[in-house]
Every structure is written in C-alpha cells, then in structure tokens.
C-alpha cells in the first residue's frame, strides 16, 4: 500500500515537473493537450470500458460544452458564469443523449450515438446565426482563478494538471465505489443484475452523466486552450480519435485512456509534422489495433510484464505447496 502511495506521489511530482523539464512552450502546450484529452478519454472510458457502451458521439458533447463557453463569453458574461453555464449545458445535452441512446445497447447504441453526434455537428456547422458556422467563434482571454493569469503555457499546464488530477481521483473513487461495481455488473450480466433488483437503466444513466461531466470539463479546457472553437471539434473524426485513445490504451482500465491520450496526441502533433496524411494514419492505426491488439496497450503490457516476472521466478525452485496455490 505504501509502495502504491509512493508511486502515485512520484507520478504527481513528475507530472508537475514536466514544464520545467521540457521548457519549450510548444511542447508544454502538447503536454497540456495530452492532459485535457486524457480527461475526455477518462470520461469516455466510463461508458466504453465500465458500462460496455461504445459511444461514437462524444465529440458532440465535448463540443457543446466548448460552444457554450464561447457563446456565453461572446454574449458578455464573465468566466465563472460561462464555465458553470457550459457544464450545465453539457450535462443537459448528456441527459438528452442518454435518454435516447440508452434505449439500446451494443451496436444500436453506437448507431444512435453516432447519429446524435452528427446532429450536433450539423447544428454547429449550419446554424450560422448561433455558431458562426465554419468560421467558428474566437474566445478572448483565459480566466484568472485566484488572480493567477493562465496566459503562459506553463500556467495553463499547471491549471490543467490540477483539474486532471481531480478527474483521475474522481474516476478512481467512482470505479472502486459500489456504484462502479454495479456498473461493471450491468456490463457483464445485465439480465442477472436486473433479476437481482438493480435498475440497470438508471445505473447506466448515472454512468452516462458522469461521463458527460468529464467530457464537458475537457470541452471547457479545450476552448480555453485554443481560444477558438469550430465545427471540426464535433466531427465524427474527433469522436473516433477519442475512442481510439480509450481502446488503444486499454478500455476498462484507469491508466489506459491516459496512455492512449498521450499516444494519440503525440502521434497527431509529432507525426503530422512529417506525414501530411494524419487521417489515413488514424484509420490505419485503428484497424491495426483492433486486429492485432484488441485489449489495448496497458493490459497488453501488463500481461507481458506478468509473464516476464513468471519467467524470472521460474528459475528459482518453488516449493510444491506454493505452486499449488
């Protein structure tokens, strides 16, 4: 237990030291992107990994929160109202999403979320009087929590890191809570859970709302990071990227989506400097991961590590009794 706490503390210190280690503002910004997308992926993972419901419309929810911030700021409200308002709007849309999509599971759930995400994209793209269409909305300035300006790359990274840590802690607590256990139950044995008296729909709805909250938080961070929002944020490609983060890292693990977010963001920023065809790469990686490593990086690496440890320990003579257990 102590070892675990030490590891967590070391990880936090390492994350906080990142801006001082890399110095270059461009790469600090990439690190901020990783953290904010990790929050998004953590939110999506609640549904994909723990509830067994694959959503292909989450970029819609992400974008709704972003647009809400941008529109409220454009209407002359302050940052506090804009952020709170965006979370409320994000959660309202999530509730609507959930009410419609949770009529189904499995493949149909994918189709419904896909269609709902496309509606939101279509609205952002075509409802020009509200969203300014393809031109997007500019956001001027980042908020100043407790009087600290977030204009520099380092300051924004620190703020994102704090929110990220809170999100990770929230997800960790959520997963270990009785509610998290029942959620996994509805994923593995929905009919049995129903027979045991659990309200499967309500549990899934709750999970959807939590997922939507994390997604909205990430959306708010995103719009402040870019200080700009356009319909591209809501496109199917964006939903697929988020799903790729979850699946490549390992769905249903705490660490997986974070690793996946790092992988995708780094690929996107670094590889796209050399390769123009990012979308082609995205598709190819998707296909490759699904076919060759369906479990994701983190569980795959963990399995390799375990078998390596077993190989190492096999060289020592093991008492028969211990081997039996």
């Amino acid at each position: 237990m102590i070892g675990r706490n030490l590891a967590i503390a070391a990880a936090i210190i390492a994350l906080a030291a990142v801006p001082y280690a890399i110095r270059e503002p461009y790469y600090v910004n990439v690190a901020s992107q990783i953290l904010l997308y990790a929050i998004f992926a953590l939110g999506l993972n609640i549904l994909v990994g723990y509830a067994g419901l694959v959503s292909l419309g989450h970029a819609g929810l992400f974008g709704v929160a972003s647009y809400a911030v941008a529109s409220l700021l454009a209407a002359g409200f302050g940052h506090t109202i804009a952020i709170v308002g965006a979370l409320v709007v994000g959660l309202t849309f999530t509730a609507g999403f959930a009410a419609l999509a949770l009529r189904a599971t499995g493949i149909s759930f994918i189709m419904i979320t896909l269609a709902l995400g496309e509606i939101l994209w279509g609205l952002a793209y075509r409802w020009i009087s509200l969203t300014n269409g393809d031109n997007g909305i500019n956001v001027s300035g980042r908020p100043k929590p407790f009087g600290i300006a977030l204009t520099s790359a380092n300051a924004f990274y620190d703020a994102t890191l704090i929110i990220f840590l809170v999100a990770v802690a929230a997800v960790a607590i959520f997963v270990r809570s009785p509610f998290g256990a029942t959620l996994c139950g509805t994923r593995d044995q929905p009919r049995r859970m129903n027979a045991l008296g659990y309200h499967v729909w309500m549990i899934r709805f709750g999970a959807f709302m939590f997922s939507g909250l994390l997604t909205s938080v990430a959306g708010v961070l995103f719009v402040y990071y870019n200080e700009f929002i356009s319909p591209q944020t809501l496109a199917l490609t964006a939903s697929a990227e988020a799903l790729l983060m979850v699946i490549s890292g390992g769905a249903g693990t705490l660490l997986g989506p974070i690793v996946g977010a790092a992988l995708v963001v780094i690929m996107k920023n670094v590889v796209s400097a050399y390769v123009v065809r990012w979308n082609f790469m995205l598709g190819a990686i998707f296909v490759a991961i699904v076919i060759f490593m369906p479990e994701g990086l983190v569980p795959g690496a963990a399995r390799l590590f375990r078998s390596a440890v077993r190989m190492m320990s096999r060289s020592k003579p093991v008492p028969v009794v211990e081997r039996m257990s």
């Binding site: 694959v54 292909l56 419609l100 009529r103 189904a104 499995g106 493949i107 149909s108 994918i110 189709m111 419904i112 896909l114 269609a115 709902l116 496309e118 509606i119 279509g122 609205l123 793209y125 075509r126 409802w127 020009i128 009087s129 496109a235 199917l236 490609t237 697929a240 799903l243 699946i247 065809r277 979308n279 082609f280 995205l282 598709g283 190819a284 990686i285 998707f286 296909v287 699904v290 076919i291 369906p294």
Partner: protein, 290 residues
C-alpha cells in the same frame, strides 16, 4: 406552385439516390448485424472514380452509364475484398468489425483527398438528359426524373432477387436467423461477402449517378452516411420496403427542410428518427428491435 412542384421532384430524386445507398446498408446490417460505416465512403469513392472515367484522365472518356456500371463493379469488388480480408478475421466480434469499418472509412476519405484533391468536382449531366419536362408551369429536369426511374428499376430488381430467387431466399434466411440458416446448409459466410460486395457496389453506383446533382467533394461521405443511418433506423434493418419508404421520407424532409429552414435542416432530419426510436424501436417495417 412551381416552387413546390420542383421541391417535390427534388425530394423524390434524392429519395431515390438514398434508396440505392441505403438498400445495401440495410441488407448488410440485417445479415451481418453491423452498421457498415464505410458505406458513405463507398458512395464518395464511386463518385470520384466516376469523375476519372468522365474527365478523360485515362486517355479516353467513357459513356456515363457504362462508367457508372464499371464503377459500381469496382467498388463492389473492393467491398467484397474488405469483407474477406478484414472483417472475416473478426468474425463474431461485431464491435471490432464496426471499428474496422470506421478506420477504413477514414483511410478511404484521405485516399480520395490525396488522389483527387480538395476542390469540388462538378460532373456534367449525361448526354440527352440535359433537358426539361414541363409539369404544368414548372420545368422538371429530365435527369432527375431519370434517377427516379433508375431507383424504381433497382428497387424492383432487388425485390425480385430477394423474393423470387434461390439466392434471395438464402439471404432472407440469413437475415432472419443466421444460426438456423447455417444448420440447414447455407454458407452464410459466403453470403456475407456477396451482400457486402453488392451493398458497396450499389453505393458506388449511386455515387456516380448522384454526382451530376450533388457534385463531388471531400466530406461527401460524412454527408451521406448519417442519411443512410437515419433511413435504416426509420425503415427498419434488413427490410427492402423499409429502406424504400425511409428513403422517400428522408428525401422529402431533407429537401423541404433545406428550402424552408436551411439552418435547422439537419436537425429536422433527425427528428423522425428520434420519434421512431421512442415509439417503435424496430423501425417502421423492421422485424427485429434495433
């Protein structure tokens, strides 16, 4: 009055195109139980391949209809290959299959961007169909009427194929109960390849036929795929009648919406889908709950 007649003609035309697109989508869904997310890409790929045939980039130009049929065949082969080489490896894992179709759709989209550039390409109306037909005070473009005729011919042909032939009976058996169909000796996995190829070919063909109206541009796939989704959710999966009726409904809503409330056209389009999901989850004509 002229306005409404034209709008109605446009709606039915668009419905006809959508039928060509979504009939395959619906059959694939009904048989393999997966939404084929490359379906919009097949439509776009077909449209782009068509422009290559017509532009003379190959050193010769091809007659419009010959080009459309050739393109349909090409895309059908691609679809069948994709089913054989990629989806077959993941037999039984529907989620993985959906994700693979998603990945391939991105690759196709980028491939088209690479091959044909980002500028929209307009396609000339085929020779002899550039004229108009007078309907009262309105003049309906001949080509749009031709599309309606083609869609009806394909609808009848598909219906005959499904209802009157041995192959059709096998496909229907596969849609109804794949396990039982296997037990009685139908090679369902071969049907998968066949239906996937057929669906892709129809989508590619529809892409060429639609290109004089829609023009060809990057993002065409993302415009068409949600429409096919809506049609199938509306009409019910695996039902030819369902996709026919669904296509006409969506064609009307889409065109009337764009003419009357352009900003919200996309939103209005999805309202009937939401209604159907709430009131009749299996779709208007579908047997199985989605």
């Amino acid at each position: 009055m002229t306005f409404w007649v034209l709008l109605t003609v446009n709606s039915v035309t668009f419905g006809g195109l959508l039928f060509l697109l979504s009939a395959g989508f619906s059959l694939i869904f009904g048989l393999m139980r997966i939404p084929n997310l490359t379906h919009g890409s097949m439509f776009m790929l077909g449209a782009y391949l068509g422009t290559t045939f017509f532009s003379g980039a190959l050193g010769f130009t091809v007659n419009f209809w010959v080009g459309a049929i050739l393109t349909g065949l090409e895309v059908a082969i691609l679809g069948a290959l994709m089913e054989r080489l990629l989806l077959r490896r993941l037999a039984g894992q529907q989620l993985a299959q959906v994700l693979v179709t998603l990945g391939v759709s991105f690759m196709v989209a980028d491939f088209c961007l690479m091959g044909w550039g980002g500028d929209p390409i307009s396609v000339a109306t085929p020779a002899g169909l550039g004229g108009f037909v007078r309907v009262g005070a309105a003049a309906a473009p001949l080509y749009r009427l031709a599309i309606i005729v083609i869609a009806v011919i394909f609808a009848i042909a598909l219906w005959l194929m499904l209802e009157r032939t041995r192959l059709g009976a096998m496909i229907r058996a596969g849609v109804d109960d794949p396990q039982m169909a296997r037990v009685v000796g139908i090679r369902v996995s071969q049907l998968f390849t066949l239906v996937f190829g057929l669906g892709a070919g129809l989508a590619g063909f529809a892409g060429v036929i639609g290109s004089p109206i829609l023009s060809v541009y990057p993002g065409l796939d993302q415009d068409m795929l949600p429409l096919a989704l809506v049609v199938v959710i509306l009409g019910g999966t695996g039902s030819l009648l369902g996709s026919f009726v669904g296509s006409i409904i969506v064609g009307f809503i889409y065109n009337f919406g764009q003419a009357l409330v352009p900003e919200l056209a996309y939103f209005i389009l999805f309202l009937p889908m939401v209604l159907v999901l709430v009131l009749r989850p299996q779709g208007l004509f579908g047997g199985q709950v989605l």
